[in-house]
């Protein structure tokens, strides 16, 4: 395993055209991912985590303006023509989406859909692709794969469909797997199974994985490193253990306090973070979290705070870490 990063993102910025005007959905996102590493992206809806994923996949709308750099094995992906990107998608970078109920084409058999990336990227014949599709469906735990390969998506449950999309994403043995909330739409009982399946496949095939979730528990259990996103910026990043032991950013701390807990006394209200997520079209100049932060002061609003190192490879985008990390005391 070499030390050179497989994926290197530097100062990624994405400007989207929304109905409210242009919105800076992502700014200043930087990270590197080596082969076989797993990275978690956590944050609430609209924080820019999915946009970051789509930027990596090159699947943002044509009107989106991307700045910064995304390198895969040293090759620049930002500005790559679509035809060249098509050779990477589904081949070297794959993605699993949130909604298994709508992510599959209702008109095509699942075998056809799983075989499609194989036919597209490898030189196999239709018969070989079908054979491989059955093997993949079998591997992801679809019962009776050989018999059901010619069935249509509507004949499967949500969990089974998510297994099918996983088989599809893994068809060409990609280097990087991006899983965007892969279990959010599933029953709780199925969620664990699907995450275990993804984890074992990632390990078995030596893939790198970017797991996107709003669920801190999912992140804690499944990835080595994590980034917390808020308002389009990474507010905290580091080894998962380090972040959970010493949360540096007031937002991370708020997110952690807001999770429901078993064994809490009856009638205890869930903690929330006061205020609402800022409109991306109308982001403040300074810290994006300042308006909801209990320890914000005037200089927080002046400019976007720089990342402060608070531990080994543990960075926090906050100028008040002295206060937040003392008072914080929240940790697993």
């Amino acid at each position: 395993m070499s030390d050179a990063p497989l994926i290197e993102v530097k100062d990624l910025g994405v400007r989207l055209n929304t109905s409210h005007g242009p919105a800076q959905a992502v700014r200043g996102v930087s990270f590197a991912l080596r082969r076989g590493e797993t990275l978690g992206l956590v944050g609430e809806s609209g924080c820019g985590k999915s946009v970051t994923a789509l930027a990596l996949m090159g699947l943002l709308p044509d009107s989106a303006v991307i700045s910064g750099s995304i390198r895969l094995d040293g090759a620049e992906l930002v500005g790559l023509p679509d035809t060249a990107y098509c050779r990477l998608r589904g081949n070297r970078i794959s993605m699993i989406f949130q909604e298994p109920m709508t992510a599959l084409n209702p008109m095509h058999t699942i075998g056809h859909q799983v075989a499609e990336p194989l036919l597209r990227h490898t030189g196999v014949s239709a018969a070989e692709a079908r054979h491989e599709a059955i093997a993949l469906l079998d591997r992801v735990g679809l019962p009776d794969a050989a018999k059901r390969v010619d069935a249509y998506p509507h004949q499967f449950s949500g969990g089974q469909r998510q297994r099918i999309t996983i088989a599809m994403a893994l068809a060409c043995q990609p280097d990087v797997l991006i899983a965007d909330e892969p279990t959010t739409a599933l029953d709780v009982t199925i969620q664990g199974q699907i995450l275990d399946l993804i984890a074992s496949l990632v390990e078995e095939r030596g893939m790198s994985m970017i797991l996107i979730s709003h669920d801190l528990g999912v992140i804690a259990e499944n990835v080595e490193r994590m980034m917390v996103m808020y308002g389009g910026t990474v507010v905290e990043s580091g080894e998962t253990n380090a972040v959970f032991t010493r949360m540096g950013h007031p937002y991370t701390q708020g997110l952690f306090r807001a999770r429901p807990r078993l064994g809490a006394r009856k009638g205890t209200r869930l903690k929330t973070i006061a205020g609402t997520v800022p409109e991306l079209a109308d982001l403040p100049a300074g810290c994006t979290f300042a308006d909801r932060c209990t320890i914000a002061e005037a200089r927080c609003r002046a400019a976007l705070p720089a990342v402060v190192d608070v531990g080994a490879a543990h960075g926090v985008r906050c100028i008040r870490t002295d206060v937040s990390m003392d008072a914080g005391g929240v940790g697993a």
Partner: protein
Amino acid sequence: MSVFFLRRILTLVATLVAASLIIFLVLDALPGNAAQMLMGADASPDAVHALTVKLGLDQPLTVRYLLWLKGMAVGDLGNSYVYGTPVAGLIAERLVLTIPLAIMSMLITVVLALAAGIYTAANHNKLGDVGVMSLTQVGIALPNFWFAILLILLFSVKLQLLSAGGFAGWDDGIWTGIRSLLLPAISLAVVQAAILARVTRSAMLEVLREDFVRTARAKGLGKREVLWRHVLRNAMIPVMTVMGLQFANLLAGTIVIENVFYLPGLGRLIFQSIANRDLIVVRNCVMLLAAMVVIVNFVVDVLYAFIDPRIKVSNL
């Protein structure tokens, strides 16, 4: 499958029986006596009565209705009051023109509409999209008889490539027949194609927003491939619904174009029969049109099930 067909065919027959009843009663309720009409106002009451008996018009309503149903079942539709020849023959003569014309026109419609619809959806909000959509707007606004006259001026008068009217029949070869139907088929197709193109475009744009389109892109398919392999088939349901309606319209609603081109089609037969009070011809023609509409819709329903695996044949 068999249960589906049985059920669907039963509804089809029930619809046709209901249609026949309405057609029969409405035409029967019309004032005036066919025998009187045929013989003129000066005819003697005895002669009118004799003709009434001869035409079977003196029999009770239910008997006449049942006789008509029986006649349709065995293919004997009776004789025209005006021409005295079998109605079945009169209609068959016209269908030889009307059905090929409808099919030709529908083919042109589908080719133009799908090409324009797919092109505009692929180039959504770009110059080509706006241009083609403006053209369809013009196409919808165009009165087809006026466009037909322009076509005659260009292809018949100026270029002298095609005849300005009349129907050559099929005896001199298929090509001769097709040539004489080409201009009317185009005139009919232009408006329909404009409508169908817009339906195709919006159906495709709707499907393009679906999640599975993004999945297909994530697999490495190019935009065009996604359009052909994943979007088109999903967009076909609304397109086919409109196509069915348009085909039914082409069978019956072509009288204006038939007049422009002097074509002896079904529309003209109905028009003349109404003018002549040849009610037996009118009744059978209207029944035929109703039957064709019902059958076209039936075919469209069956095609839905072929295109979309989620439409279980038994649920139709």
